[in-house]
Amino acid sequence: MKIEISNLHFTYPTGVNALQGISLTIESGEQVAIVGQNGSGKTTLVKHLNGLLRPTSGMVQVGGWNTKDHSVAKLARRVGYVFQNPDEQLFSKNVGTEVAFGPRNMGLNGDQVQSLVKDALMMTELSDKTETNPYDLSATWRKMVALASVISMDTDIVVFDEPTTGQDAMNIARIANVIKTLRGRGKTVITITHDIDFCAENFTRVIALSQGKILLDGKANDVLGQDEILAVTYVEPPQLTRLGKRLGFRNIVRTQDEFLKELRRLV
């Protein structure tokens, strides 16, 4: 399901011009990370995908639908959105009900709901916690419940807002696995993140925003190697990219495999 954004402007009622002419296309099945400093417009941009915000001017189309003409409820069938803070989205008395809420709301029958819930719980490693109240879980697992409750809606597009904030290495690996599974199923995954190493290891396309505009947009290696431009929006290249650069590698490296391959070539 293709996303097309053309000349999108958005001004908050307070007068802040959060987006100032964004144009981009995201093809079906792409894995896109959005980076940029606090206040650069990342969250404002993704909230346009499911209609939580409507353009002040310009156009946002999701699978051919102009978001202006469709309710949030309808858009929610196409675009799943996982909030940064799970506590802003969880409300049910147990994990199973929470994860079933989305698909049930979409009017699916009992069997369909059950199979979607089962699948989402398995993907997020929550199968043994179905009966637990989300607020009795640690913040780490609450994050996984938030993921599961969106994944269970089986939308073509899934948006994660800062999925790794406050998570430890083990849970970041779990989240990376979820993204990998979604990629395998041909889903479009769009992630806002400050965690540039996580971005480097899990995404093939990177969009850098600065002051409501697109600063860079392209293949991960091309974007993440541009340290001087990224500095404008206070983004530092990933650790291994910086290391490769300091060592004088001719090619931009992003992952451990790429780094070791380049090292072997030179030694």
Partner: protein, 292 residues
């Protein structure tokens, strides 16, 4: 001299079956900069609460063993005796902000009001603290209208303004972008240089390696390891405990298996990694454009 002394501390929150801290013993010297690391659920925040007196005075529950901080012993004191000595910046600033104040300026002054600091002194201390953390321009905003990163700065400022002997910081930059993180670490370093004892919970390993005198790693409520940053942060059992080590360490470990890392020690920081790998590369090889 030890300003923090914990002996065989075991603590259970109310209504829980297993302890959050198990038989923890540790000493921290006056003026020391100590980083606490570990996976989620290892007991880092609980230890912070214990050092600040919130455990057990605020959270209740069951604490055994002895906790002595700046000469005050937990069992023989009340929480209000602690605030003059220890300042704790919460992991989630939202939980720290008083909710009783309309502006950031008043919020930062809240602690000083409560200990009866004279008005003129209060105003000058609040202004100085806000300048230090670069939030002067937020003075008239509501604390609740701020972004997560800005709230974290306000939370930190409200603690710094109290001029505690011991500064306990629970992931003070978790919601900040890299530049915010750098600025806040600059402030923390300044405090440490002025002789404040700093105890910092942090996942950003490169920063720990640059600033901390000592690292204490926790796992399942127990002390797993302690020592200098270069040793603790590269220890395989730290990684196995679920803590995210630096990419420099993990790539060098992998390179070591391939005989592409020759040093005994693994790197934690960029500079250490550059130094180690650089010695392998033939001089003048490749582009000859090595960035400095």
């Amino acid at each position: 001299m030890a300003i923090v002394n914990l002996q065989n501390v075991t603590y259970k929150y109310p209504l829980t079956s297993s302890p959050a801290l198990r038989d923890v013993s540790l000493q921290i010297d006056e003026g020391e900069f100590v980083a606490l690391v570990g996976a989620n659920g290892a007991g880092k925040s609980t230890l912070c609460y214990t050092l600040a007196g919130f455990v057990p005075h605020f959270f209740k529950g069951e604490l055994t063993g002895t906790v002595e901080v700046a000469g005050i012993e937990t069992h023989a004191s009340m929480l209000n005796e602690w605030v003059m000595n220890v300042g704790l910046a919460f992991q989630n600033p939202f939980n720290q902000i008083s909710g009783a104040k309309y502006t950031v300026f008043e919020e930062v002054a809240f602690g000083l009001e409560n200990i009866g600091v004279p008005r003129d002194e209060m105003i000058s201390r609040v202004e100085a603290a806000m300048k230090l953390t670069d939030i002067s321009d937020l003075a008239e905003r509501s604390p609740y209208s701020l972004s997560g990163g800005q709230q974290q700065r306000v939370a930190l400022t409200s603690i710094l303004v109290m001029q505690p002997k011991i500064l306990v910081l629970d992931e003070p930059t978790s919601q900040m972008d890299p530049i915010g993180t750098r600025e806040v670490f600059g402030v923390i370093r300044k405090m440490a240089e002025q002789g404040m004892t700093v105890i910092l919970v942090e996942h950003k390993v490169e920063w720990i390696a640059q600033f901390a005198d000592r690292v204490i790693a926790l796992k399942d409520g127990q002390v797993l390891l302690e020592g200098i940053p270069g040793e603790v942060l590269t220890a395989p059992i730290l990684e196995e405990s679920g803590f995210g080590i630096s990419r420099y360490t993990s790539v060098a470990r992998k390179a070591q298996e391939l005989s592409l890392w020759k040093k005994d020690k693994l790197p934690v920081t960029l500079d250490e990694a550059v130094e180690g790998f650089d010695s392998l590369l033939p001089q003048g090889e490749g582009t000859g454009m090595r960035a400095k």
